[in-house]
Symmetry: C3
Subunit: 282 residues, 3 copies
């Protein structure tokens, strides 16, 4: 039965990739200034359209106008105190899909306050490294979360399997999907867990691979369910990264080739990137 | 007679490119955070010098100190409410050339208010996609403009020829030049229209090709007339993009090679990039 | 005796590079939005970990949590009025190493005010082009400094040897190290001056090579003395740049290869990058 489900998922991935290339959906972002360029270029490379804003009314406008939205708290400006909650409320009210990237959760009072507020707006996809997933579940008082954050700046000290229970609990709370990035990547909708394989050690040797992934998931979320969007994002990243690594001579050329491979990957190749599926117990 | 005029224009392009490489003019910018790095690198690649600021007094200082200035409203911060008008006024008072890039016109109240104010300061060059040109002419109440914006986020849904009347009307208002980017690019000073050929489909597959173009036009505007500066900008971009496309395997390597080709293009090669010229009726 | 000292320095460089690759130290930054991505990628390429913030409490947190911190005033936001002084005080109080990059000193009142305040917190490393070093010594009322800044935007009009006395005076004031970048680079701790050779003319043809260097010096400062950290930074940059230039066809591919070479350079290769040493008279 799992084989049938996996075949069904592969077909949904093919559909998501094709729909994005055909309809060029806009996924607006409020994101950090470190990796904002890579986020936009990755979104465009897979066939989406990018737009980034800072002001509250613009954030609200883009949330309503876009197919989906990407909110990343990596570098917070004072104006985010108003922009991020207004964007999240507009998305929730309009039932628009959105991706939350709780970067560096645990650093700073405004970041914590904003991430706390997002619980009520139930992001369609939560994407982070294992430590961030654990810390967010903890902040939201969910099972499997940690009180103390193991986030070290923007890096993770936990493994993806250690974040499985927290990811499932978050997905059950939001009714969406949760994705934890690691050597193997984990995606869950609260009832099944998919493990996505591939990637490259160079992904940790450039800044922004996680942010770009979140932005790309938002592009796919404009045309597919949160679970399929998150899994498609991981699949295309794992495929493109493993191909880019073969040609790269270091992190500089890796990033260049990675964007090339994101652009060149076909729907079938992305759907056939290896993954496993298991059901989650109650 | 048009042949004579075209030959004269080619000589002016050669002169502009050489003057920039010889004098390394500084063109300061207030621009968006998505593509700010590419803007600076493109400006430097053609031989200019880049400097970016956010604060009002710094914006005013750079406006007076630079050979020309680039104002791009792509991502607006609250401080822009003061910085952009002060920069525009300083530029107008000092009769310094400047380039306006009305990115995403129609989104947000501050963006609209700022773009409305710029009418009085008459930017030397207005550069945008066709939808942005149409919307700006509409916002300024000029002939050929549209009331409702067809801008979708940062992308255009109109063709360059559809924006011709609006471009001419804007150029006649400012007394400068207007450039609309498309598959073929249109540059007008209100009395003639030049069409610039070349480029690459990859220009729409990376973020910031339009912003980088505006920044490069500012560099040329430091040494040449608005019309020649705008046309030189399009020419070097069309030449570099078509060369980069031949070597590129995707948008990542395209961007890398595009900067290489901007740097390697000679004055004669840029002047000989194909263009056509036609007079505009009254 | 100088030969013994040079051999000792080479061993310390080897140690610094190895310690960074082994311990992956976090060096947080408050830096400009133009080159923030290159700073992070350069820090990661040499083996460090990057984190960038804007808000005051986050700046304070990172200053205490990181192995060292990089403060760059390239593009100032209003919130920096509080963030930068609080970061500098936290660093000073915790005796944590930090690098100051006085970019574009002389432009704007807040920039001048902030740079003036930093005198009391004695940055472990001051890194800049010769004009910035001269202007900072002047602003702090030290010997060898200039009253009027020769900084033109972000570029330098002075040579590195012209800034030697100012660099020595600054290093004696802070008790740390001062690094001036030029065709040959100068590093001093106030008692000896090291000249570091190599590099590439392309370093001035991309934006952010200086900022990235400051960020990398902060990474090394987490594990080595200010003088060794600054010299190691110049050595790895000079080595990587000269190697990248051999493969580059312009500034775009140069930047790509430069990051590759930063990543691939070994501790021994970095230590053997040519440098000279001379004692400073009283």
């Amino acid at each position: 039965m799992m084989q049938d489900r996996m075949e069904e998922i592969r077909e949904q991935i093919v559909q998501a990739v094709r729909d994005v290339k055909r309809t060029n959906p806009m996924a607006g972002s409020i994101t950090n200034t470190v990796t904002i360029n890579l986020v936009a270029n990755a979104q465009i490379a897979v066939g989406g359209s990018a737009a980034m804003v800072y002001l509250p009314d613009e954030a609200e406008f883009l949330s309503r106008a876009g197919g989906a939205t990407y909110l990343n708290v990596g570098t917070i400006f004072p104006v985010y105190e108003e922009s991020l909650p207004r964007a999240a409320r507009a998305l929730h009210e309009a039932s628009k899909p959105w991706v939350l990237d709780p970067v560096a959760i645990g650093i700073g009072s405004l970041r914590t306050e904003l991430l706390h507020q997002f619980k009520a707006q139930k992001p369609s996809i939560i994407r982070g490294n294992p430590s961030e997933i654990l810390a967010l579940a903890g902040l939201w008082g969910l099972e499997g979360g940690t009180k103390a954050s193991n986030v070290r700046g923007v890096d993770s000290t936990d493994t993806v399997m250690a974040a499985k229970d927290a990811a499932v609990a978050l997905a059950r709370w939001t009714g969406g999907a949760v994705a934890a990035s690691g050597e193997t990547d984990l995606v869950t909708d609260g009832s099944v867990v998919a493990l996505s394989y591939g990637g490259s050690h160079f992904m940790n040797r450039i800044t922004g691979s996680g942010c770009a992934l979140g932005g790309v998931m938002a592009v796919y979320a404009a045309v597919a369910s949160p679970f399929i969007a998150a899994l498609t994002g991981h699949a295309v990243f794992n495929l493109a990264a493993s191909r880019a690594e073969r040609r790269a001579e270091g992190p500089g050329s890796f990033q260049t080739f990675f964007l090339d491979e994101l652009y060149n990957a076909t729907a079938e190749e992305i759907a056939n990137n290896p993954f496993e599926l298991e059901e989650v117990g109650e």
